[in-house]
Symmetry: C2
Subunit: 237 residues, 2 copies
DNA sequence: AGGCAACGTTTCGTATACAATCCTTCAGCA
DNA sequence: TGCTGAAGGATTGTATACGAAACGTTGCCT
């Protein structure tokens, strides 16, 4: 009798490197908004693009569907997810529900080097905010999400970390769809305030700031029902 | 009549019925402990069992791996997950983090018919507790999980619902592995107390009860590192 | 001219085939 | 006897092939 030694290693299986590569590439493209919601992801096309067979592409798409970034419809194919306003609300409701808890846990476990890491992230974020251009904007989006992800990583809970991965990615999709302010993305200063509160060890204030922060992001959305609920129509206009 | 909170509605896309069937069958078998942690799930064997090709089995195993119920190792195959003590701790930490929030949300949205549904679940749970035998025990574990899942369903947040699906399933695995008390499973009365608190509209008390409840489950575990995989030592005794 | 139906094309769903990797076993040697 | 190493078998990784469903188009009928 032998035991599976897998249990102790990282939660992310990352079984086949081929699939993982495609999955990560597609996810990055979606999160950074290079792929618009509703875009069809044909298995053959993606396969040709990566010079692999449909098998691996299919696995990657299935994985992304599990993360809520693509939606696969039986006998119709896979599309970049097109979250409904209701879905968007639920995503942010979930974030309001979990992020304060993650923040509390992270704050109690944080080390000086990790605080430095957070500050470094903020610096990078601020630098990108100053720049112009699509690339800088994308990098800014990513950095802004990385702040929340790093907090989850610091909390030390792999499960919550994975969950936040999903929530942040889907948030990006929602912002891409419904965000109205051109400045968009998280208010940079709010991140800084949260770090400051953590350093002061003022957890209640940090949580309050986090909730405000999430509320601000959501407040920037225009979540009215667009008749484009049928994504096919929206695309073919 | 039977409630199947895990299989309720549209939240899970799960396009292909073939894969879905295998996935659900395997998941039930794992959660109900008919498949022991560490058991190898050979693609060919499972495929023959279901009379389908490896392709579908592979997809199902991959899906289960995303839920944390199966761990796939490159070039080695898939095994029923064998959660480490650390993983177990993180699972319950995550539940402590999210369940109070879910409970609060559910309590504000709950309808009389849903309260009836919860009470029905409690009755069933109590009935199973009285019975003897492995089957009753398994059904009891399942029913006890269904309580938490139903609460998540009532909260109306599909995302949190899916997350709780995963957490409850993995908890079952952990309890199966590390639970020591023969009575095991959730204290039944605690579920009843929570429902009562909800009916009184005493949310703070309900949350407190929920946290206690989770703590009690975790307290029943023996999470000491058992190094089973150094089998040489075990044999040389 | 417009709508409907049948056909062809494209894409997905599933099975099967081949290649790569790992585990087991058995032979050879110190 | 105990260890090393290579061959064989078994299992997974990936690609390809074939059947089925859906979409677009064309042509006919009203």
């Amino acid at each position: 009798m032998k035991f599976a030694p897998s249990a102790l290693q990282t939660a992310d299986d990352s079984a086949d490197t081929g699939t993982r590569q495609i999955r990560d590439a597609l996810r990055d493209a979606i999160v950074e908004r290079r792929l618009s919601p509703g875009t069809k992801l044909s298995e053959s096309d993606v396969g040709n693009l990566f010079n692999v067979s449909r098998t691996l592409v299919r696995a990657a798409l299935q994985a992304l569907s599990y993360e809520g970034l693509v939606s696969v419809e039986k006998n119709r194919g896979a599309f970049v997810a097109y979250p409904s306003p209701e879905e968007a609300r639920q995503i942010f409701a979930a974030r309001r529900l979990v992020e304060p808890g993650i923040l509390r846990e992270a704050a109690t476990r944080i080390t000086p080097s990790q605080i430095w890491q957070l500050r470094h992230l903020l610096l990078e974020e601020g630098r990108l905010m100053g720049e112009r251009g699509q690339t800088a904007r994308r990098a800014e989006i990513k950095a802004s999400g990385d702040f929340h992800l790093t907090l989850a990583a610091i909390s030390g809970n792999v499960i919550m970390q994975r969950f936040m991965d999903e929530l942040v990615a889907r948030s990006s999709l929602v912002i891409a769809l419904y965000g109205q302010s051109t400045i968009s993305s998280c208010g940079h200063s709010e991140h800084g305030n949260i770090v400051a509160a953590i350093e002061r060890n003022d957890l209640d204030e940090a949580c309050r700031l986090m909730l405000d922060h999430i509320a601000h992001i959501e407040a920037d959305l225009d979540l009215r029902e667009r008749r484009g609920f049928n994504l096919k129509e929206a695309l073919e206009l």
